[in-house]
């Protein structure tokens, strides 16, 4: 039973990694800077999910602290980018 659970959680990790690849494609292609910031925001959210599932799959609850910090940092980064885009307009 435990092996089945671990296999399933590794598949879940693979699905999340696929989502991260999609985010990276938008990060590279995104025609404008706000598009890239949105992709960056999604990547941070996927990172929270990946570290949470990793903590569950390998029974290491320490990784939840990583998720907390990642969630905190990504918001500050997004706000900073938005400020930068708006201030750039005024010249």
């Amino acid at each position: 039973m435990t092996e089945h659970i671990n296999l399933f959680l590794e598949i879940v990790l693979g699905v999340l990694a696929l989502a991260a690849v999609g985010g990276f494609v938008r990060l590279l292609r995104g025609p404008s800077l706000p598009d890239r910031v949105v992709a960056f925001d999604l990547l941070a959210t996927v990172g929270v999910g990946i570290s949470a599932v990793y903590a569950m799959a390998y029974n290491q609850p320490v990784f939840l602290d990583v998720a907390v910090v990642l969630a905190l940092i990504s918001f500050v980064g997004t706000v900073a980018f938005a400020r930068y885009i708006e201030e750039r307009l005024k010249g």
Binding site: R26, V38, T45, P61, F75, E86
Partner: protein, 127 residues
């Protein structure tokens, strides 16, 4: 009881990861910035919160459950704010709308200098 707990955890983790994958697909396939923001701020948040609820059930530990709930609360607080702030910056910097857009009620009504919305069009006021 143990089996129910494990099944619940797996359903929550699997469903959450599917929602996050859906968000990434939406981010890739939507036509412009403002529609791309929908999946990345709503579906991704829902998926991560489902995974975190699964974690809280899986470990059966008070400290870990509190941490998971803390991340959930923080995501629910910050995701809408971040999406709104980026949409505003993108609109002001003139990111083009998709060709399918039907109406843009904000066009030419936002003053960059004073950061105020101008009055509605004159004919609307007279009525």
């Amino acid at each position: 009881m143990n089996l129910v707990k494990q099944l619940l955890t797996l359903i929550l983790a699997g469903g959450g990861s599917l929602f996050v994958l859906l968000a990434a697909i939406g981010l890739l396939r939507m036509p412009d910035l403002f529609t791309r923001m929908h999946p990345s701020s709503k579906a991704a948040t829902l998926g991560t919160v489902l995974i975190l609820i699964g974690i809280a059930i899986h470990f059966e530990n008070g400290a870990i459950a509190v941490r998971a709930v803390l991340i959930c609360l923080f995501l629910f607080l910050t995701a809408p704010v971040a999406a709104h702030i980026i949409a505003r910056a993108g609109f002001l910097s003139g990111v083009p709308l998709a060709e399918e857009t039907v109406i843009d009620e904000l066009s030419d009504r936002y003053d960059l200098e004073t950061h105020c919305l101008s009055c509605p069009p004159a004919e609307a006021e007279e009525e």
